[in-house]
Symmetry: C3
Subunit: 275 residues, 3 copies
């Protein structure tokens, strides 16, 4: 697939607006087995787009709660043994019901414990894998050096081939985020060129992206369209927020305000603008 060119519209603003309106109308219940580091931010982002978030992480109740939820955001961050069991149970519950779930393999490459959990969950047929370029590359068979801690050590352009290979191999839609985002399935990929560098300086942006994709999937059966819409909401909100903020503290605050105020007009404006 070709690299992003910057010409033409940067994303389908009409689809992004339509799916956002559906989330606001239906308020889907999103079950988060969230990274402890970013639980509040994750829930705040879901509330800002109109979804109804809940964090339920104990193996004793993860499957039962998943059966009541409209979508699941499954994050391997702060992965204790209990958390791993809860992820497995909730994912199985979603699959058994034919409901959508998103896997976020935070921290793979950091330990064999984390790698094994992420690969096991990837084998349980998530609807979407939301990951950075390093995580995608590693899951596609690449080397640990693709990651520096939990951050990608290569660009999404460099990992584009890996994303497509992984989508094919694992039978999932891959939503890979970075300076440019790529949403790929077995057949092809679509670039989304938006966002801002400050997003990499605020904890939890990846976790939030994963949760937003889950919210979009709860109202839109086309997984590629849902993933592209959710990443567009976040990228546009990130651009708008960063334009008025001097640093990552104020950026985090403004991002929530902009997500809350996001509408057709803002999305259409930013679909046309050059980055």
């Amino acid at each position: 697939m070709s690299p992003p060119t910057g010409s033409g519209p940067r994303f389908d603003a009409h689809a992004a607006a339509r799916i956002l309106a559906e989330v606001r109308r239906r308020r889907p219940l999103v079950h988060n087995i969230a990274n402890q580091v970013a639980m509040e931010t994750t829930c705040d982002m879901l509330l800002a787009v109109g979804a109804s978030p809940a964090v339920v992480v104990a193996p004793e109740e993860a499957a039962e709660f998943a059966r009541r939820a409209d979508a699941l955001a499954a994050n391997t961050g702060t992965l204790t043994a209990d958390r791993r069991a809860a992820l497995r149970l909730a994912a199985a519950a979603m699959r058994a019901q034919g409901k959508p779930w998103v896997l976020d393999p935070v921290g793979i490459g950091g330990s064999s414990h984390r790698d094994a959990a992420a690969r096991e969950l990837l084998g349980m047929a998530p609807t979407v894998l939301r990951a950075n370029a390093g995580e995608v590359s590693l899951l596609a068979g690449g080397h640990r050096s693709a990651l520096h801690g939990v951050d990608a050590a290569l660009s999404t352009q460099e990992a584009a081939r890996d994303a497509c290979a992984l989508a094919r191999k694992a039978g999932v839609v891959v939503a890979m985020t970075g300076a440019a985002d790529l949403v790929a399935d077995a057949a092809s990929g679509t670039w989304l060129v938006a966002g801002h560098a400050l997003m990499a300086r605020a904890t939890g942006m990846g976790c939030g992206a994963t949760a937003l994709v889950a919210a979009a999937l709860a109202v839109e059966r086309d997984a590629r369209a849902a993933a592209l819409a959710a990443l567009a909401w976040l990228a546009v909100a990130g651009e708008v927020a960063a334009a008025r903020c001097p640093g990552p503290g104020s950026f985090r605050v403004a991002l929530l305000d902009v997500l809350h105020a996001l509408d057709d007009e803002i999305l259409l404006d930013h679909a046309k603008a050059s980055p």
Copy 2:
């Protein structure tokens, strides 16, 4: 009890101011077995009103720490088996000493595990139950449909009768929060009509309310007066903060600033204003 009318003062500002001054003077130590999702916000709210927060959640130390604390805020959020054991131990320690504690049954209706834990703790004689209308309705014998995830699916007006019934049955003061708040005991209830819709869009407002009630109880033996004071602090701060904020990100920030600056004048002003 009659629904809120909007005429007359909306709450007892003198009591709210007096109890706030006492918290600032005595800096009560509030033990939080807090929802993982909102631990930082919960502690920030306690610091903003002058209390001294601590989060101690392990069964190995919950009872011992509770014996040193002035009040306990017991929250069933992110309820693992260990968390449940810690809640039970800390609640028993508070009861044995005759110290106040507040139960926040977050997530009931979501799983039988959560329901059982909340009901067990309610049977341990909390001083105050702080809950939303759906949680109150469900605990009073209502149906799961009173909740949408962790959010109430009915108004506090609709659940007013349930609040009074529950106060009578469980022998607790019920502090039910929503667009209008109701504080009820076995005999009667008092409405507090204040606050702002943005409070429902920021994660952890309920958890924070629970913690503030615990701080108030640490300095005021009249549980109804303490609960009304704490809910008034939060509702007034929410109104003032929302008036200057475009969305939930800036609202969360301003709320802490206003709570920190809250004084007699602001409380008296807002007790008179029409909502």
Copy 3:
């Protein structure tokens, strides 16, 4: 050692600037076994100074991840049995490799469980102990009354002798924070008179200080110089942020913006200014 005098430069701004530039250049991977209460703030502070944070708290992977990290920030907050095991394993891994690690004994004095864990970890030769005056006093053999919950009940001036005694006894550098900070080793101590009272009203400032010291240690072998530099970054950022903020909510936001923008000029300016 003499108390802080306020004359002369308040800290070595050139060293603080040099070590900050090194962190930005090398982006050290800092492993956080962080307090659950302040995980996001801790990571945000590390990102703001240019480090690469990761939170890995499970015993199953703590040692393996520690072997990949450049430094460890080990915090006894929200101390479950698993957390304690992870702290022990990660600390041992750092020591075995000769890599730096910082101990933050949050919550000692609150329970015998917490005390035992903190003392065990202190016996494992941390490079730096980052603590408040009450924690230092208690670890040096003082009484529980040195703490009010997790807050110090005495000043760093009052605990200065304890800090030096503890540095000698435990063979560590003690970085004691408060209205004035003191960095002491077995031989002598250096005062840092900077910061702002609002820092005590925002949750997680101590946890963040610990993490920043770990980041500095990752690029600077002189542990005293590293600790002084990290505490100077935070104190200066705290002063600059507080000057423009009405309360603890906006302060927390501005602090991250200022840390992100911190440069030689700001550090040099504030090294000279009178507090």
